[in-house]
Amino acid sequence: MAKVKGTIVVDIEKCKGCEICVTACPTSVISMSVEVNGKGYPYAYLNDPDGCTGCSNCAIVCPDGVITVYRQKIG
Protein backbone atom coordinates (compact mmCIF):
# COMPACT_ATOMS: atom_id res chain seq x y z
CA MET A 1 0.00 0.00 0.00
CA ALA A 2 1.24 3.41 -0.93
CA LYS A 3 1.98 5.65 1.99
CA VAL A 4 0.86 9.25 2.01
CA LYS A 5 2.78 12.11 3.42
CA GLY A 6 1.58 15.61 3.92
CA THR A 7 2.62 19.05 4.94
CA ILE A 8 0.99 22.29 5.92
CA VAL A 9 1.80 25.90 5.26
CA VAL A 10 0.61 28.26 7.99
CA ASP A 11 0.08 31.94 7.19
CA ILE A 12 1.85 32.96 10.36
CA GLU A 13 0.84 36.60 10.38
CA LYS A 14 -2.84 35.69 10.14
CA CYS A 15 -2.75 32.92 12.75
CA LYS A 16 -4.40 33.94 16.02
CA GLY A 17 -3.00 31.10 18.08
CA CYS A 18 -6.34 29.56 19.08
CA GLU A 19 -4.88 26.02 19.07
CA ILE A 20 -8.01 24.43 17.66
CA CYS A 21 -5.87 22.88 14.91
CA VAL A 22 -3.62 21.34 17.56
CA THR A 23 -6.52 19.40 19.06
CA ALA A 24 -7.88 18.50 15.63
CA CYS A 25 -4.65 16.89 14.41
CA PRO A 26 -4.98 13.08 14.54
CA THR A 27 -1.22 12.55 14.56
CA SER A 28 -0.43 15.34 17.03
CA VAL A 29 2.17 16.95 14.82
CA ILE A 30 1.06 20.58 15.21
CA SER A 31 2.53 22.70 17.99
CA MET A 32 2.37 26.33 18.97
CA SER A 33 5.43 28.48 18.53
CA VAL A 34 7.31 29.98 21.44
CA GLU A 35 7.91 33.23 19.57
CA VAL A 36 4.93 35.36 18.58
CA ASN A 37 3.78 36.87 15.28
CA GLY A 38 3.29 40.56 14.53
CA LYS A 39 -0.06 40.54 16.31
CA GLY A 40 1.48 39.01 19.42
CA TYR A 41 0.02 35.54 18.96
CA PRO A 42 1.96 32.28 19.11
CA TYR A 43 1.30 30.50 15.82
CA ALA A 44 0.80 26.92 14.71
CA TYR A 45 3.58 24.98 13.03
CA LEU A 46 4.29 21.42 11.93
CA ASN A 47 6.60 19.93 14.52
CA ASP A 48 7.30 16.63 12.78
CA PRO A 49 7.97 16.57 9.02
CA ASP A 50 7.23 12.87 8.80
CA GLY A 51 4.08 12.73 10.93
CA CYS A 52 1.71 14.79 8.77
CA THR A 53 -0.63 12.75 6.56
CA GLY A 54 -2.16 15.73 4.78
CA CYS A 55 -5.61 14.91 6.16
CA SER A 56 -6.64 18.59 6.23
CA ASN A 57 -8.39 18.36 9.61
CA CYS A 58 -6.34 21.28 10.92
CA ALA A 59 -7.24 23.44 7.93
CA ILE A 60 -10.95 22.76 7.99
CA VAL A 61 -11.30 23.70 11.65
CA CYS A 62 -9.14 26.79 11.36
CA PRO A 63 -11.49 29.75 11.94
CA ASP A 64 -9.15 32.06 10.09
CA GLY A 65 -8.41 29.83 7.13
CA VAL A 66 -4.67 30.25 7.53
CA ILE A 67 -3.64 26.67 6.78
CA THR A 68 -2.90 25.33 3.30
CA VAL A 69 -2.42 21.56 2.97
CA TYR A 70 -0.35 19.50 0.53
CA ARG A 71 -0.30 15.74 0.19
CA GLN A 72 1.82 13.34 -1.78
CA LYS A 73 1.92 9.56 -2.26
CA ILE A 74 5.27 8.03 -1.55
CA GLY A 75 6.66 4.66 -2.40
Partner: protein, 260 residues
Protein backbone atom coordinates in the same frame (compact mmCIF):
# COMPACT_ATOMS: atom_id res chain seq x y z
CA UNK B 1 3.31 35.48 3.41
CA UNK B 2 5.57 34.67 6.31
CA UNK B 3 5.75 30.98 7.02
CA UNK B 4 7.75 28.30 8.69
CA UNK B 5 7.96 25.76 5.90
CA UNK B 6 8.55 22.08 6.46
CA UNK B 7 8.78 19.57 3.59
CA UNK B 8 9.38 22.33 1.07
CA UNK B 9 9.70 19.81 -1.78
CA UNK B 10 6.03 18.81 -1.43
CA UNK B 11 4.71 22.31 -1.98
CA UNK B 12 3.61 21.99 -5.58
CA UNK B 13 0.24 22.73 -7.17
CA UNK B 14 -0.35 19.05 -7.95
CA UNK B 15 -0.03 18.16 -4.27
CA UNK B 16 -2.42 20.85 -3.04
CA UNK B 17 -5.34 19.32 -1.15
CA UNK B 18 -6.73 22.24 0.81
CA UNK B 19 -6.55 26.00 0.55
CA UNK B 20 -8.79 28.82 1.56
CA UNK B 21 -11.61 29.44 -0.91
CA UNK B 22 -11.44 32.44 -3.21
CA UNK B 23 -15.02 33.31 -2.21
CA UNK B 24 -13.39 34.74 0.92
CA UNK B 25 -10.95 37.57 0.42
CA UNK B 26 -7.60 37.97 2.20
CA UNK B 27 -8.76 40.43 4.89
CA UNK B 28 -7.93 39.28 8.41
CA UNK B 29 -11.23 38.59 10.16
CA UNK B 30 -11.85 40.68 13.26
CA UNK B 31 -13.17 37.72 15.24
CA UNK B 32 -11.51 36.59 18.46
CA UNK B 33 -9.08 33.65 18.25
CA UNK B 34 -10.97 30.38 17.85
CA UNK B 35 -14.35 31.95 17.16
CA UNK B 36 -16.73 29.74 15.20
CA UNK B 37 -17.83 32.62 12.97
CA UNK B 38 -14.69 32.29 10.90
CA UNK B 39 -15.24 28.59 10.29
CA UNK B 40 -18.93 29.12 9.53
CA UNK B 41 -18.05 31.87 7.03
CA UNK B 42 -15.47 29.68 5.37
CA UNK B 43 -17.69 26.66 4.84
CA UNK B 44 -20.52 28.81 3.46
CA UNK B 45 -17.99 30.38 1.10
CA UNK B 46 -16.63 26.94 0.13
CA UNK B 47 -20.11 25.71 -0.77
CA UNK B 48 -20.71 28.86 -2.83
CA UNK B 49 -17.51 28.10 -4.70
CA UNK B 50 -18.31 24.42 -5.15
CA UNK B 51 -21.81 25.18 -6.45
CA UNK B 52 -20.35 27.91 -8.66
CA UNK B 53 -22.97 30.44 -7.57
CA UNK B 54 -20.70 33.31 -6.55
CA UNK B 55 -22.23 35.57 -9.20
CA UNK B 56 -25.78 34.59 -8.28
CA UNK B 57 -25.83 34.96 -4.51
CA UNK B 58 -26.64 37.88 -2.24
CA UNK B 59 -25.85 37.69 1.47
CA UNK B 60 -27.55 39.61 4.26
CA UNK B 61 -25.36 40.43 7.26
CA UNK B 62 -26.76 41.01 10.76
CA UNK B 63 -25.94 43.28 13.67
CA UNK B 64 -23.69 41.57 16.17
CA UNK B 65 -20.19 40.14 15.92
CA UNK B 66 -20.70 39.26 12.28
CA UNK B 67 -21.89 42.75 11.34
CA UNK B 68 -18.75 43.20 9.25
CA UNK B 69 -18.90 39.81 7.51
CA UNK B 70 -19.28 41.61 4.17
CA UNK B 71 -15.64 42.64 4.60
CA UNK B 72 -14.62 39.00 4.11
CA UNK B 73 -16.96 37.60 1.45
CA UNK B 74 -16.35 38.07 -2.24
CA UNK B 75 -20.08 38.26 -2.92
CA UNK B 76 -22.63 41.07 -3.06
CA UNK B 77 -23.90 41.76 0.44
CA UNK B 78 -26.25 43.96 2.38
CA UNK B 79 -25.98 44.92 6.03
CA UNK B 80 -29.39 44.73 7.70
CA UNK B 81 -30.68 46.49 10.79
CA UNK B 82 -30.62 44.45 14.02
CA UNK B 83 -32.91 41.44 13.66
CA UNK B 84 -34.28 42.36 10.25
CA UNK B 85 -32.19 40.19 7.94
CA UNK B 86 -35.10 37.81 7.18
CA UNK B 87 -37.28 40.76 6.10
CA UNK B 88 -34.46 42.19 4.00
CA UNK B 89 -33.75 38.77 2.50
CA UNK B 90 -37.45 38.23 1.79
CA UNK B 91 -37.58 41.29 -0.44
CA UNK B 92 -34.32 40.54 -2.22
CA UNK B 93 -35.42 36.99 -3.04
CA UNK B 94 -38.90 38.00 -4.14
CA UNK B 95 -37.50 40.70 -6.41
CA UNK B 96 -34.63 38.53 -7.69
CA UNK B 97 -36.22 35.06 -7.55
CA UNK B 98 -33.62 33.53 -9.83
CA UNK B 99 -30.78 34.47 -7.44
CA UNK B 100 -29.68 32.79 -4.20
CA UNK B 101 -30.17 34.67 -0.92
CA UNK B 102 -28.75 33.82 2.48
CA UNK B 103 -29.07 35.53 5.82
CA UNK B 104 -26.57 35.13 8.63
CA UNK B 105 -27.53 36.08 12.18
CA UNK B 106 -26.51 35.55 15.77
CA UNK B 107 -28.78 34.58 18.64
CA UNK B 108 -29.55 38.10 19.81
CA UNK B 109 -30.32 39.20 16.29
CA UNK B 110 -32.36 36.21 15.15
CA UNK B 111 -33.94 35.01 18.40
CA UNK B 112 -34.52 38.21 20.40
CA UNK B 113 -34.98 41.46 18.52
CA UNK B 114 -35.72 39.75 15.22
CA UNK B 115 -38.02 36.96 16.44
CA UNK B 116 -41.01 38.25 14.49
CA UNK B 117 -39.10 38.57 11.22
CA UNK B 118 -37.54 35.12 11.70
CA UNK B 119 -40.83 33.38 12.39
CA UNK B 120 -42.76 35.10 9.63
CA UNK B 121 -40.11 34.58 6.98
CA UNK B 122 -39.99 30.89 7.93
CA UNK B 123 -43.76 30.64 8.10
CA UNK B 124 -44.24 32.25 4.70
CA UNK B 125 -41.68 29.77 3.45
CA UNK B 126 -39.45 32.41 1.93
CA UNK B 127 -37.14 30.62 -0.40
CA UNK B 128 -33.97 31.71 1.37
CA UNK B 129 -31.29 30.01 3.46
CA UNK B 130 -30.97 31.27 7.02
CA UNK B 131 -27.85 30.71 9.11
CA UNK B 132 -28.23 31.05 12.85
CA UNK B 133 -25.06 31.20 14.92
CA UNK B 134 -25.96 30.37 18.52
CA UNK B 135 -23.29 31.00 21.12
CA UNK B 136 -25.65 31.77 23.96
CA UNK B 137 -24.41 35.29 24.52
CA UNK B 138 -24.21 38.80 23.07
CA UNK B 139 -20.61 38.73 21.96
CA UNK B 140 -20.16 42.09 20.34
CA UNK B 141 -21.66 44.25 23.06
CA UNK B 142 -19.54 42.57 25.68
CA UNK B 143 -21.11 39.32 26.83
CA UNK B 144 -24.65 40.13 27.92
CA UNK B 145 -27.37 37.51 28.38
CA UNK B 146 -28.92 36.27 25.13
CA UNK B 147 -32.27 34.57 24.51
CA UNK B 148 -30.28 31.34 24.25
CA UNK B 149 -28.15 31.75 27.38
CA UNK B 150 -28.44 28.50 29.34
CA UNK B 151 -29.94 28.25 32.80
CA UNK B 152 -27.28 29.11 35.34
CA UNK B 153 -24.91 30.42 32.66
CA UNK B 154 -23.08 33.57 33.62
CA UNK B 155 -23.06 36.67 31.47
CA UNK B 156 -22.48 40.33 32.17
CA UNK B 157 -26.22 40.86 32.67
CA UNK B 158 -26.71 37.57 34.51
CA UNK B 159 -23.53 37.76 36.60
CA UNK B 160 -24.76 35.11 39.05
CA UNK B 161 -26.05 32.86 36.31
CA UNK B 162 -29.33 32.87 34.38
CA UNK B 163 -32.10 32.65 36.93
CA UNK B 164 -35.17 31.28 35.16
CA UNK B 165 -37.90 32.79 37.39
CA UNK B 166 -36.25 36.17 37.14
CA UNK B 167 -34.89 36.16 33.59
CA UNK B 168 -37.02 33.70 31.71
CA UNK B 169 -36.15 30.55 29.80
CA UNK B 170 -33.60 30.04 27.07
CA UNK B 171 -35.33 29.91 23.69
CA UNK B 172 -35.05 26.98 21.29
CA UNK B 173 -35.64 28.89 18.11
CA UNK B 174 -34.70 26.05 15.81
CA UNK B 175 -37.29 23.70 17.35
CA UNK B 176 -39.79 26.51 16.94
CA UNK B 177 -39.18 27.15 13.25
CA UNK B 178 -39.17 23.40 12.56
CA UNK B 179 -42.87 23.46 13.47
CA UNK B 180 -43.68 25.97 10.76
CA UNK B 181 -45.04 24.75 7.44
CA UNK B 182 -42.84 27.11 5.42
CA UNK B 183 -39.53 25.54 6.42
CA UNK B 184 -38.27 22.65 4.30
CA UNK B 185 -35.02 21.89 6.06
CA UNK B 186 -34.15 22.65 9.67
CA UNK B 187 -30.97 21.40 11.24
CA UNK B 188 -28.63 22.10 14.15
CA UNK B 189 -24.92 21.69 13.60
CA UNK B 190 -21.56 22.74 15.05
CA UNK B 191 -18.10 23.63 13.73
CA UNK B 192 -15.74 22.87 16.60
CA UNK B 193 -14.06 19.76 15.22
CA UNK B 194 -13.33 18.28 11.78
CA UNK B 195 -16.21 15.82 11.67
CA UNK B 196 -18.76 18.47 12.65
CA UNK B 197 -17.32 20.95 10.17
CA UNK B 198 -17.77 18.33 7.45
CA UNK B 199 -21.36 17.63 8.54
CA UNK B 200 -22.19 21.32 8.69
CA UNK B 201 -20.77 21.86 5.25
CA UNK B 202 -22.99 19.10 3.90
CA UNK B 203 -25.95 20.79 5.55
CA UNK B 204 -25.03 24.13 3.95
CA UNK B 205 -24.84 22.45 0.58
CA UNK B 206 -28.23 20.78 1.07
CA UNK B 207 -29.81 24.02 2.17
CA UNK B 208 -28.64 25.89 -0.91
CA UNK B 209 -29.65 22.99 -3.16
CA UNK B 210 -33.15 23.13 -1.65
CA UNK B 211 -33.22 26.84 -2.34
CA UNK B 212 -32.32 26.12 -5.94
CA UNK B 213 -35.34 23.83 -6.10
CA UNK B 214 -37.63 26.50 -4.54
CA UNK B 215 -38.53 24.24 -1.64
CA UNK B 216 -39.02 26.89 1.04
CA UNK B 217 -36.98 28.19 3.92
CA UNK B 218 -33.88 26.26 4.89
CA UNK B 219 -32.64 27.00 8.39
CA UNK B 220 -29.28 25.98 9.81
CA UNK B 221 -28.39 26.63 13.41
CA UNK B 222 -24.71 26.39 14.21
CA UNK B 223 -24.05 26.03 17.92
CA UNK B 224 -20.86 27.94 18.47
CA UNK B 225 -18.49 29.26 21.07
CA UNK B 226 -17.79 32.71 22.44
CA UNK B 227 -14.41 32.52 24.08
CA UNK B 228 -14.36 36.16 25.10
CA UNK B 229 -17.93 36.24 26.35
CA UNK B 230 -17.57 32.93 28.17
CA UNK B 231 -14.16 34.00 29.46
CA UNK B 232 -12.42 30.80 28.40
CA UNK B 233 -9.54 29.82 26.15
CA UNK B 234 -10.75 28.65 22.71
CA UNK B 235 -10.21 24.92 23.19
CA UNK B 236 -11.65 25.06 26.69
CA UNK B 237 -14.69 26.94 25.34
CA UNK B 238 -15.26 24.26 22.70
CA UNK B 239 -15.13 21.57 25.39
CA UNK B 240 -17.54 23.56 27.56
CA UNK B 241 -19.86 23.89 24.57
CA UNK B 242 -19.86 20.13 23.99
CA UNK B 243 -20.58 19.44 27.66
CA UNK B 244 -23.13 22.17 28.33
CA UNK B 245 -24.62 23.56 25.13
CA UNK B 246 -25.16 20.32 23.22
CA UNK B 247 -27.38 18.67 25.88
CA UNK B 248 -29.78 21.62 25.70
CA UNK B 249 -29.30 22.30 21.99
CA UNK B 250 -28.90 18.75 20.61
CA UNK B 251 -27.26 18.48 17.20
CA UNK B 252 -28.90 16.89 14.19
CA UNK B 253 -31.69 17.36 11.67
CA UNK B 254 -35.04 18.57 13.00
CA UNK B 255 -36.76 18.56 9.66
CA UNK B 256 -35.75 17.15 6.31
CA UNK B 257 -37.71 17.28 3.07
CA UNK B 258 -39.25 14.07 1.83
CA UNK B 259 -37.15 12.64 -0.93
CA UNK B 260 -39.06 12.45 -4.17
Amino acid sequence: MAEKVVNQEMIKPENLVYQKTKVLNDNVMHYCPGCGHGTAHRIIAEVIEEMDIQSEIIGIAPVGCSVLMYNYFNVDMQEAAHGRAPAVGTAVKRLLPEKFVFTYQGDGDLAAIGTAETIHACNRGENITMFFINNGIYGMTGGQMAPTTLEGMKSSTSPYGRDIPMMGNPLKMTELVAQLPGTCYVTRQAVHDPSHVRKTKKAVRKALEYQKKNMGTSFIEIVSNCNSGWKMAPVEANNWMVENMFPFFPLGDLKVPEEK
